[in-house]
Amino acid sequence: MKKTKLDPRSLLVIVLCLSTAVLVAQNIYFVLGIGAASFAIALAFGVDFIRLVKRFRRIVYLLLVISLVQSIFTPDTNVLIRVFSVNLVTEKGLLMGVKTFVRMLVILTSASIMTTVNYRETVQGLVQWKVPYLLAFMVSVALRFLPIFAGELKDSLTALQLRGIDLKKIPFGKKLRVYVYLLTPVVMSVLKRAQTLSMAMEARAFGAYPSRVSYLVLKLKARDYIVQLTSVLLSAAYITGSFVLPL
């Protein structure tokens, strides 16, 4: 974690600016520019890309596939690839595909920037921005338990295969049944944990009063205001530029 810490709300502002800019900008060079910028910002915040890419390999492949699908069959005069008298990839299509891919990567990169903050602080930041506490709290509980359920799903998968079931060889008709089997222990675990958790929370007076006090209070400092203002202004200028400038 960087020593000069920024308030999580400043990161939220940066992330929102990046995401908005990349979705709104139409010019391919501007889109690529934001891609590069978000990558650099994420690195600056200490995001470990190598580890992330390894873990989310499959998602990146999926994004590539989606972008590829986006790029084909788009009508345009400038045809790049033609197969059996069908216009497969046009210049417009290729540009669209690239833009889609970069946009999705920027969203992922933004999410990774948010992981550099302790999620209690993010929740507190949202609450101080007047997001209802219950909503923010539920999101944070979900975040806490997601890795646990991912682990349980993995165990469930292991246990199912140890019963002699080769998942690659299940006939298509029975695949749904197998998924139900697979998810049953995990769903049961979710329900059971939810009950114990709600008991533990109630026993600690959750919801006793209409409002609650927070021990953790976030204070925006001068640098936060500077970062937030700069981000908003830069993005606004960038977006305007992408519409106004030719090419």
Partner: protein, 233 residues
């Protein structure tokens, strides 16, 4: 002298409980009186209703744990069903069996702060209570750490600290030692002894007799009723 000072911490009179959708009662006329400063162990086979009794005493059943209840449960002479959430939480604390199901905050400080925050205490008071509770369980140095990196026994100590920060006078340990190793068990037992010395009333539910040597009295749950301990479950 206030009502709290002269009365019995936990009183159960002829308690019956049946889970929603169940055919039989799990509690069949349970009666119990726990004295102030006493450590009472309730033993019994799995499924005998020991935890259900705890939920009833803590007011969690039938409020969160659905079912039909009959009979009286009083803490410090007040009927639990008539106490508000905050009132129960400041009189009675409960530590459950599974450490991972009671800890949900990213840092230990947040976890221990949770209860007092819900009570809308002033922030300085909350800070004081966090320090006290962590000192009490011997985990003060872990204050800013992540609960996920702790051992099972340490997690249960944090769960205990999160409950102690509400300053309850009654504590229930619902099979708290069953999922942790020998070192962890010893630390919990040491805590129980310490809390007894501080005048707290403790109810511990167990099925492992090795864990019950800290108790002043042992009762056995059998057939939905409590019996004095005669050497067998």
């Amino acid at each position: 002298m206030t009502a709290e000072q002269t009365t019995c911490p936990v009183e159960v009179e002829n308690l019956y409980f049946r889970y929603a959708g169940a055919e039989k009662n799990v509690l069949n006329g349970v009666s119990l009186r726990v004295s102030e400063g006493e450590v009472l162990a309730i033993a019994g086979l799995s499924g005998s209703g020991k935890s259900t009794l705890c939920y009833c005493i803590a007011g969690l059943a039938p409020r969160l744990v659905k079912g039909r209840i009959k009979g009286a449960v009083r803490i410090f002479s007040e009927d639990v069903s008539e106490l508000k959430t905050a009132e129960v939480a400041t009189r009675l604390g409960i530590v459950f069996q599974e450490p991972d199901d009671q800890l949900f905050s990213p840092t230990i400080e947040d976890e221990v702060a949770f209860g007092p925050e819900n009570l809308c205490l002033p922030r300085e008071e909350i800070g004081r209570r966090i320090g006290e509770a962590l000192e009490s369980v011997g985990m003060a140095e872990y204050r800013m750490g992540n609960p996920e990196n702790l051992s099972g026994g340490q997690k249960q100590l944090i769960a205990l600290a999160s409950v102690l920060s509400m300053r309850p006078r009654i504590l229930i340990f619902d099979e708290t030692m069953s999922q942790i190793d020998r070192t962890g068990k010893k630390r919990i037992k040491d805590m129980i002894n310490k809390l007894r010395a501080e005048g707290k009333t403790i109810l511990m539910v167990e099925h492992d007799f090795d864990n019950m040597d800290v108790a002043d009295r042992i009762l056995v749950m059998r057939g939905g009723k409590l019996h004095p301990y005669d050497g067998a479950l």
